[in-house]
Amino acid sequence: MSIPLLDKSKFIIFIFSVLFMVNCRGGEKWQSYTLFFFDTVCDIQVFGPLSQVEAVPTEISRIFTEIEKEFSLGCGDFSSPPVLELFRTARRVYRDSDGYFDITVGPLSELWGFSTKTYRIPLPEEVKKALAFVGLEKIKEQRDRLSVQPGMKLDWGGIAKGWGVDLAARALREIGIARGFINCGGDLYCWGENPENKAWKIGIKHPRQQGYMGIISVSGLAVATSGDYQRYFESGGARYHHIFNPKTGYPAQGKQSVTIVGPETVYCDALSTALFASLQPELIIKRYPEYGAILVEADGNVVILGKAYPVELF
């Protein structure tokens, strides 16, 4: 069918108007933000009413600032409600993982220089000494206050970021942000559909090469990854990374990365550390039937455990 020139231009204007309305339906829009929290980059992409979308960075900054304040390494206020709440979650994963996820590894992080970035390989007796202050069962919860022994140091790095993402995502949905994702250094939650009206496509970074090892397609779910390539130093040809086996005091062996998919970022965050450190990750994931794991073993072999989510591996 041929369209006269004038009609054609009107038609094009109409098409642009429709596209504009689709994109700004009732004053809604897509917007991306890049913020810096938790010593990393936080990527946010959201879709919603204009005023709500514009409020997103302020809302997220408020939540993340509060979490950074409460959960910095070795924080002292053991009676604040957020600390008590996150402690209970950490204790659940500690118990379910037979102690392989442990927020009391602070003395080990310090000993190996990860908290100050002055890396060193400690002597075996130093490791043994530090292990005396490791073990979440040593912390007692008494009258809404944690009783932490002198010398113990809590390292919330394996759980607080994930919890922050959950809180922020919940807050954004409550103010009317219908679609989006919040990604803090690889701990992320996505909801609704992506700009192409499909499930969000999450690239899993390859632990040893540039680029991705696979893509997860999800919505209304969280994803988090722990890997030996994120924070590490090398000495004598060996790699010493920041994920400790709390039982030995040495960096956990046997895996390059663990990616967890599931309903809550806080559990994805903690479970990725737990499965990375554990020698029997299949036993841990069984206790979380809504969660799935993609493990890259030390030899590069990929193992999928737990609940199956749509993932394409390369």
């Binding site: 810096f36 990393t40 690889g186 996505c190 999450i202 899993i204 540039q210 680029g211 390369f314």
Partner: protein, 244 residues
């Protein structure tokens, strides 16, 4: 051999149609057709020339059917960075064999997005002439099917620079340059060279940004958290965001 003659030869091959269809089942990526005995002598060189394309980057390869030169192809492609896997679904380069009914001059051509692409002008004219000059007529058709969608990492076009958490500018990766940025907490110097961006110097305490490998693929980034400084490679991305 003229390209149109080449196609006539290919499509006259018995069973070629179902095989070609099979080669396309797992994606709509480019397909390279090569007529030659001892294809191992030519295929790595052709792919090497096509490496500017993201889909021709090394990855996993697999055979779709029995190939008379399978061993030799596997050896020569492995030497060029390809890793052979048994499952075609896990591969980004699928190789298949089809015997031609009549022997034809050695040659090759590429079909991409339903079009014939003359790749001889991409540094392959010498190889083309050499094949035609010395190669005996062959009935061996090797079909190399590239799975474009399996390469979610495409080379970036530009790098976006964020300082103090704010986007400052976007620089082309084609330029070779060095640039200094002053932030609230210090200074960061970056370098763009040969299509890759990296942090050359930073006043931050732990210098983690300096140890980050150069970034060149769309979506890759280098972060200097103390300076709230970020280099983000821009370009066509196949994912919405990244974990890890």
């Amino acid at each position: 051999m003229d390209r149109r003659d080449f196609l006539k030869v290919i499509f006259a091959a018995p069973l070629a149609a179902p095989l070609l269809a099979a080669a396309k089942t797992s994606g709509s990526g480019p397909v390279l057709y090569l007529i030659a005995d001892e294809p191992q002598n030519f295929l790595p060189g052709i792919i090497q020339q096509l490496k500017r394309k993201a889909w021709a980057e090394e990855g996993r390869a697999a055979f779709l059917n029995q190939h008379p030169f399978a061993e030799e192809l596997e050896r020569s492609l492995s030497e060029n960075g390809w890793r052979f896997v048994s499952s075609p679904s896990a591969a980004s380069l699928l190789l298949s064999f089809e015997p031609l009914r009549h022997a034809a001059s050695p040659s090759f051509t590429l079909i991409k997005e339903g079009r014939i692409w003359d790749i001889r002008n991409q540094g392959l004219s010498r190889l083309w002439k050499e094949m035609n000059r010395q190669g005996a007529a062959s009935t061996c058709l090797t079909i190399a099917s590239f799975e474009e969608h399996r390469f979610p990492e495409a080379p970036g076009k530009a790098v976006a620079v964020y300082a103090d958490g704010k986007r400052r500018e976007s620089l082309s990766l084609d330029a070779n340059l060095m640039r200094r940025y002053t932030t609230r907490n210090g200074e960061v110097v970056i370098e763009i060279e040969k299509g890759r961006a990296r942090v050359l110097a930073s006043t931050c305490r732990h210098k983690i940004c300096l140890s980050s490998p150069p970034a060149c693929l769309a979506g890759e980034r280098i972060v200097c958290a103390p300076n709230q400084f970020l280099l983000a490679i821009e370009g066509r991305r196949f994912v919405d965001t990244v974990t890890g």
